[in-house]
Structures are given as C-alpha cells and as structure tokens.
C-alpha cells in the first residue's frame, strides 16, 4: 500500500515533452511592451501580453493561465519599477522556467534604460499612499522612452537569436523612422496648448504630459492608490477654479462619477484616454496609441480652451 502511494506521487510527475520552436516565444506583462516586441520581432517572434490595456496594471490577477504562458516563454519583458509587484512574483515562482527568472537570460526589465520621473527622495512611508519607491512606473507613455525600450528589446532579441540580429536591427530602424515622424506630428499638434493646466485621476501620465507640455496641477486621487475623498475633491475643485484648469484625464479602469462631478462644478470636461495599447479600440499599437491619445486630447483641449 505504501509503495503504491509513493509510486502514485511520482507517476503524477511525468516527464515533460520539450517543445522546440523556431520563433522566440515572448511574453510581456503589458500590451505596450508586447506591441514594441512585435515591432522589433516581426514574424521571428510570437508575442503574448498578460495584462490588457484597459485594465489597471497594478491589480492584475495572477491567473494559472498566465502561468502556462510564462512557463513556455523564451523572453519575459516586464515594466519593472514594482508595477507588477502584486502579481508577477507568484507567476515567476510557479512558471518552472529558469530562463525567465530575474537573473535569467530571457528576463528583460524594460525600465533599466529609460527616463524615470518622480523617484522619491528622502523618507517615504505608506502614509503617502501606494508610492513606488523606484519611481513612477508609467514611463512608457513617452515616445523617447518607447524608443529606448525598443532598443533594449532589439538587443535582447539579438542576444537570444543572433542569427536574426540584422533582421531585428532593420525592423528597429524602420520603427525608429515611423516613431520620429509621429513625434514630429504630435509635437506640432500639441504645441499651441503648451502650459495648459489639467488634472489627471492617477499619476499615470507624468512622462506623457511633460513631453507634450501640459501642466498637471492636481489629481482626483488624494494620494496614489487612495480613492477620492469628499474633502480632497472640494479642495481640488477650488484649486481648479483658481488656476483655470478645465480638463480631467481619466484612465479607462476608473469610475467616472467623481471626475464628472468635478467637471460639472468647474464647467470642464472629462476625457478618457488610453494609458496603454489596447486601452481603447483605436490604440492598436504603440504609434497608434499616441495618435489616438493626441487626437483625443486636441479635440478636448480645443473645446475647453477655445483655441
């Protein structure tokens, strides 16, 4: 009986059928990184993005279906800066995949090479809300950072698949050209609104707003990750009236009730922007994301500023 049970325990652990594939199997934690990986990898990679663009990337369930995806990955691209701290570690542990563990060859932290804002200095405590001690993790919302992420991805892909290095380099150059053209377009379109004061729900947009010259004067959240409170909302309304801010930018995963109430009070407008690829139907890839957001912003700014 005992022998049988011992046997049962080990039979359950059957040998794994190793699967060899020509393509690099890429898993990214967000759709933005997934889109950049597709730009560089083309048909030499197959890409799976875990979190959807319309979901709060701080609160993603570490579903077992994600374990399956990560267990088969050759490359795992993460946003880093503790954005995924609530859900990625259990996926890594359960993945049984040595390649994409933190020190593994297939692990790529996209934040190592980019410009990070709001790195806290001095003492930080949770009394400040859910602060990110390593800086604001929403850094992908700036084309310059997108270019740097694409470089990291190109280098990582070339390291893992040296035979395709020139292919990846070629695709990077092509992406870089299209992105530069986009930047010209977006910068020119946004130029008339430089210095316009706006409000955002969460601190998701510092890189984006800095790039396009908009001045974020307040947040709907009293502190990062803390839901709106009546007293903070009243203060915010007063401050918006005083400074003449009319536009409230909200991520698609937040409730619109409070922002709408504020907009009514200040005679302004609520605008839902896509913080990520897939955050709206039109934002299908990294360049489309900026096309969509910039167009939406332009229409809204025109309306509230009358310019």
């Amino acid at each position: 009986m005992r022998m049988f049970k011992l046997l049962l325990v080990f039979v359950l652990a059957l040998p794994l059928s190793a699967f060899a594939q020509g393509k690099l199997n890429v898993v990214s934690t967000t759709e933005d990184l997934g889109s950049l990986a597709r730009e560089i990898g083309g048909d030499k990679v197959s890409v799976t993005a875990l979190a959807k663009g319309y979901q709060d990337p701080h609160f993603v369930d570490p579903k077992p279906s994600f374990i399956l995806a990560v267990s088969r990955a050759d490359v795992l691209i993460v946003v880093g800066r503790e954005l995924e701290i609530g859900w990625l570690p259990p996926l890594l542990t359960s993945s049984r995949n040595g390649k994409i563990q933190q020190a593994g060859k297939g692990y790529l932290d996209a934040s190592t090479n980019v410009r990070i804002l709001e790195i806290p200095t001095g003492q930080i405590t949770r009394a400040m809300g859910d602060v990110h001690p390593l800086g604001n993790p929403h850094y992908w919302l700036e084309p310059g950072n997108g270019r740097r992420i694409a470089q990291s991805i190109r280098d990582k892909f070339s390291e893992l698949s040296p035979g395709n290095a020139s292919y990846f380099a070629q695709r990077y150059t092509d992406f870089d050209t299209r992105l530069a053209a986009g930047e010209k377009r977006w910068d020119a379109a946004m130029a008339p609104y430089k210095g316009t004061k706006i409000v955002t729900y969460h601190r998701s947009w510092p890189n984006f707003m800095e790039r396009f010259g908009l001045d974020v004067m307040g947040y709907v959240e009293p502190k990062p990750g803390i839901p709106p409170s009546p007293s903070h909302t009243i203060e915010l309304i007063d401050e918006m009236k005083r400074q003449g801010a009319k536009l409230i930018v909200v991520e698609p995963y937040f409730d619109l009730k409070t922002p709408q109430a504020i907009a009514t009070q200040v005679g302004g407008k609520v605008l839902v922007l896509a913080p990520s690829v897939g955050g709206s139907k039109e934002a299908t890839d990294y360049i489309q994301l900026f096309d969509y957001d910039v167009n939406q912003l332009l229409a809204a700014l025109k309306q509230v500023t009358g310019k």
Binding site: L12, A13, D61, I67, S71, P90
Partner: protein, 434 residues
Amino acid sequence: MRTTRFACAALLAATLVAAPRDAVAQAADQAQIQQQIDQLRREFNDRLTALEAQLAALQGGQPAPAPSAAQAPPPAQTTVDVPAGAAGAGGPSGPLPVYGNVAAGSKIFNPDMAVIGDFLGASGRNRVDPQPALEMHESEASFQAIVDPYARADFFVSFGEEGVELEEGVLTLTSLPGGFLTKVGKMRAAFGKVNALHNHVLPWTDRPLVTRNLVGGEDGIDDAGISVARLLPAGPLFLEATGEIYRGDASESLFRSSKRGDLAYVAHLRGYHDITESTNIDLGTSYSYGHNPAGIVNDVDLGRFTTNLFGVDATLRWRPLTRAIYHQFVGRSEVIWSNREQFDGRQRSMGYYVSGDYQFARRWWLGGRFDHSERAEDASLLDRGGSAVLTYWPSEFSQVRGQYRHTRYADGPDANELLFQFQFSIGAHGAHPF
C-alpha cells in the same frame, strides 16, 4: 579622496553624455573615456604630489615622500564619538570604533520582510467552541527572498497568544529540469483550497466547520515534507498535479506518526480554465492518507489506525477587467469525506461549505457561507452553521471585517455570535492572493 571624487564626477558626466548613443558606439566611447579619466588621474596625482612637496618645504620640514599613484590609502577605521554627557564618567574617551558592516552593502540582500496583524473580537454566546472576547490572534512575520539562481525561500512565523510557531518555512526550487516545481520544508499542504491559505487571505474571520471537524482545525495539514508539482500538457487548459510526502504529524487530531514509516501523503489535481477574460473556473480533487492518533494508548500506537481523506473543490470567479478594482465575485465550495479507523470501527464522515463573496464597491465586500459537517470521530454528530460577512478596506494594507455567525452544534446549545476582525500589514508589498 579628492582624486576619487573627481574621477567619479568625470565618470558620471561621461556616462550621462554617453547614455543615449547606441551600443556599438558606446563601447568605443567607453574605452576612450576610460583613457581620458586615467590621463586626468595621472595629471591630478602629479600635481597633488608637487603641491604637497611645496607645502612641506614651506613648513620647513623634510620634503614629504611622494605618494605613489598605485598605493591605495589604508582602510579608514570607522569611529563614533563618545555620546554627549557620557564623557569623563570613567568610561572610554575619544573616538570609539564601530564594529560590524558599516558600509551595509550586504543589507540589500536582506529578505523582503512584512508583518501582518490579525486582531479578533467576539461577542455573543458559544459554549462548545468559545473564543476570547478580544484577542491578538496572530502576528505573522514573513521573510522572503531569492536564495540563488535555482531557488527561493519563504518563511512565515506566526506569533500567537500561545507562543511562536513556524507556519511555513519553505525552499522552492524554481528551475529544475522537467518542469518540476519542488518545495522542501514545513508547509501548508495542497489539500483543497482553504488548507493552503493563510488566515489573512481568507474571506472570513474563521475557518469553515468542515476544516475544524475533518481536516485538523485552523492549522490543518501543515507539516514537514516535500512537495512536487508538475504541469500536465492539456492544450489551453491549466492542469497541475501535485504529490506531497509529509512526516505524518498534522495538527492534534488528524495525523500522528509514532514511527518513521508513518508518513502522510497528499495528492492534488487542479484544473483551471478562463471561460471569458473576466470569468474563470478552478476545479480540484485532493486525497490524503496518514496514521491517526485514535489507536495511541499511553504513547504506544496499539491500533495502527489510519485516516483517508478525499476532497473536491470548485471556485468560480468573475472580475470585469475594466472595473476590476470595483467589482468582483468569488463563489467557492469544498466537499470533504473522511474515512477514519478507530477502536469502535470505521467512521465515514462528510462535510462541506459553500461560500460567496461579492465586492460591491472599491472598498466594500459582502459575503456569506453555509457550513455543514459531521465529525471525524463520530459521524452521527452533525454541526451546521451560517455566516454573513461584511468587509471594509481602507487601503490595500488594512482591513476591517464583521461576521455574524450562527452555529447549530450536535452536542451543545446553538451559538449566535458577532465576530469582528482588524487586519493590518506593514513592510514589503506582498503578492495578491488568487
């Protein structure tokens, strides 16, 4: 010292200048910059030497020996002053040495630490299983870190009112060939769902009656052993088989080993499928076997009795992705059968719970649970109960919960209780449970 500082500044400036260029050019630039730094360092050292010699000459002393550029300065002894007010009291005077690792570079390897407090209160009447009115039920300290490229370790130490207990202390081998996820240490067994969960992630202030009656109570199957889990190829379906071997000592009443061979075994098969992106189903079957304490008389296992446990569990989750922080529902049930040998023959007992929890606002949860369980030692005794639970989350790191619980015990008066709980967490941000 100033040389180093200057070199650092130069290096930093060089890095900033070099950063945006691409990799090939960067390597060439680096070599060039390194040369420049070395050049500057040499010039700087020569000049410093000359100045020192000049100074010595002006002071009328012997010319100072020229320090060689290659000579490293002796490691500075780190010191602190005698605390103010303590000087002259017969103790040491002047600077005191500081022992230990002052530079503290190795502190970055300290594990992630957190403490979760679990405070319980109870009012109402319960004569069968009374809890104290107020209780700091548990303070769970966790220490978690990566051990080396092949493993991570997780320790959970539980400080309760009765003392300290190692709830879990586990080495997890993450990169074994063949897809085996292996855990070694003391751990909560993968029997069903609730057994593997720590108190602070439960949706209630207590554990279901079936856990108390059939699976060894709050501690459950929490023993020293080895666990091996493997994903089974099943296309898009997540299928995981787990086999575990334990020493055979799980809680007071469930398993007790009186010799080395009295091991306990746990097997678990888990299937998971995403029905849609917001709805998923999680099914499991479990089996466990071990020697029970029924046959132990005066520390001698006369009966050599064993217990077999079978379980099935099902969890349905719904969480709309665009409103994931405001609404979700988790429905869960576990049914457990116990087959226990005793002096008076075999007892075949069954128990289950059904629960549902709904998050109706960003900070609010409403839940309910129905309990039904016979007792392992006497299947003719049936306990039943029902609970309603309301939970409030001020933030991700704290939680307040109230639970009304009605229990109809087989061998005592009915209990009507109002239980409440405060939970609070400090330290490293833990992973969200799933």
